[in-house]
Amino acid sequence: MIALENVTKRYGATTVVDDVSLTFGGEGIAALIGPNGAGKSTLFSLVGRLLKPDDGRVVVDGVDVATASSRELATALAVLRQDNHVAARLTVHDLVEFGRFPHSRGRLTVTDRDHIERAIDYLELDAYRGRFLDELSGGQRQRAFIAMVLAQDTRYVLLDEPLNNLDLRHMTEIMRLLRRMADELDKRIVVVLHDINFAATYADRIVAMRAGRVVADAAAGEVMDPDVLEAVYDTPVDVRDIDGRPVALYYS
């Protein structure tokens, strides 16, 4: 379990994450939604030990992130940030191999190679393994990063806006893949999403943040409510039932 206990983070006078208590890891996919600047990315940074909370603590499987060994944490928790701007020319295979770093420390064993091959197969990247990342399309690159996280072999996977800059087809592809990872590989995934319809379709639970606070935290169906969504995004959102599924309309 990932537990945030009264976590607060401030940048100067602004409080970005305000006394948040949350638990992740009970369900396959939890979607984190909210307007820009709600504190979603900061929350990920706090869990991923990139930032230290000013107050409160983050606990992963009973261990305080602040005192845990970074390497051990890296075998339990993987965090993929939204800024995947990678200047280095690495091949897909190289990248996936680095996912084994917490386990191998650079010396690959048979088990490591096995994990690498399985991750590449799972993401259907075999044909691209020798390609450099800057030679891939956005969707392929995102899959390569997810393959790396998969090779890392952690129970918890945190993805910050993995659908950024992807077209419809690739967005759906990535979300289906996350669903499969949760169902088949028993991963516990927390994902930041901007498209709330993707959250409603694929997530088991939706956590909505606004101005550093959690304003809604429930099963996907319950959060898909006009009043709740309007309160989160400060803009009118209509929710219609289409073929038994709630669909949010916010285009006009």
Partner: protein, 339 residues
């Protein structure tokens, strides 16, 4: 559809033979130029002369005292400068940095000047130590300054570095001018191997040792090159790896400065060329960068010796001309690729 798939599948396979071929070429050139470097010079040191004269001959003496040390120095300085550039590019995540474009060389030079003023008789090892300490300070200052610049500002980072170097360099020049040490300063600024002799080049082995350290930590540098967030996610002690990289860069810069002087563009151009051929996986890139840098400096040093034979022109002039041209090409190529 099927042809498209076939093209995708064969793309990596097509690249491989070319890489092996280029790698083999670098290896052959390295051996050839090393041999050539031993036998090029004013005095007659040829295989025939060596065989005729035996151990006590002038040729044998020159080989041991001058030609062999010079060749070893050229190879090791070249290789280690290339690696310093490569490591710096991984730490900064910018392809246009090297000790010479980030103020590190200028800081180290300031350190050298300081030893000349405050402790003129200091052993060369001590001078190198002081230069390395200042180089380390320079690396730290540069890394602090560029933290304010977004990673994507590819060209701004080296511009800031060059400005930083300019400021430190002018302070150094001012004191050298006031203390009548401009001539010594000019000597360091012009990289050359003409004064390398037995007993005056051994510090380059320390630079070579740094290459070995870099090789051992190669995977860590690759991961750091992916950014702090990636490195922390993979359980790496980011600060420590950056620290190790800074020491490698500073020590190599100082050792090269003390032995040969400034050699511009090398650490910048060679890793870029290698990156185009085999990519940035540091473990794979290190032998390529080291080999190609050594070949490059060997070729330039031989040119420096034969262009105005029997006189020598400074190596840094030749490296500067070829290196600057290559740098411009890389810069314009990048632009057209919209990176």
């Amino acid at each position: 559809m099927s042809t498209a798939v076939a093209a995708i599948a064969s793309a990596p396979a097509q690249r491989r033979p070319r890489r092996t071929w280029v790698g083999a070429l670098i290896g052959v050139l390295l051996v050839l130029l090393t041999v050539l470097s031993v036998f090029v010079g004013v005095s007659d040191v040829s295989p025939a002369a060596l065989l005729d004269g035996g151990r006590g001959s002038t040729a044998a003496f020159l080989l041991v005292a001058s030609r062999a040390p010079r060749t070893i120095a050229v190879v090791l300085v070249g290789a280690s400068l290339g690696i310093a550039g490569l490591i710096m590019q991984m730490l900064v995540r910018n392809k246009f940095v090297e000790p010479g474009t980030t103020g590190v060389t200028e800081f180290a030079t300031f350190g050298m000047l300081l030893t000349m003023v405050l402790w003129p008789g200091m052993a060369v090892m001590g001078k190198m130590g002081v230069a390395a300490a200042f180089g380390l300070l320079g690396t730290w200052v540069f890394l602090r300054v560029i933290r304010a610049i977004p990673v994507r500002q590819l060209v701004l980072v080296p511009i800031v570095g060059i400005m930083l170097g300019g400021v430190v360099g002018s302070v150094t020049t001012f004191f050298a001018y006031r203390l009548d040490l401009l001539q010594s300063l000019g000597q360091w600024a012009q990289g050359s191997f003409s004064t390398v002799m037995q007993g005056r080049y051994e510090l380059v082995w320390i630079a070579a040792a740094m290459v070995v350290v870099a090789w051992f930590a190669a995977d860590r540098f690759s991961v750091v090159g992916l950014g702090e967030e990636f490195a922390v996610n993979l359980g790496l002690d980011y600060r420590r790896v950056v620290g190790i990289g800074m020491v490698i860069i500073a020590v190599i810069t100082a050792a090269v400065l003390v032995t040969a002087g400034m050699i511009p563009f090398l650490g910048l151009v060679v890793p870029n060329v290698v990156s185009l051929i085999i990519g940035d996986n540091v473990r794979r890139a290190i032998p390529w960068v080291a080999g190609l840098s050594a070949v490059f400096v060997l070729a330039c040093d031989i040119l420096a010796r034969v262009i105005r034979f029997p006189y020598e022109i400074p190596l840094s002039v030749i490296v500067g001309i070829i290196g600057a041209a290559l740098f411009l090409w890389l810069l314009l190529r990048r632009r057209s690729h919209a990176h």
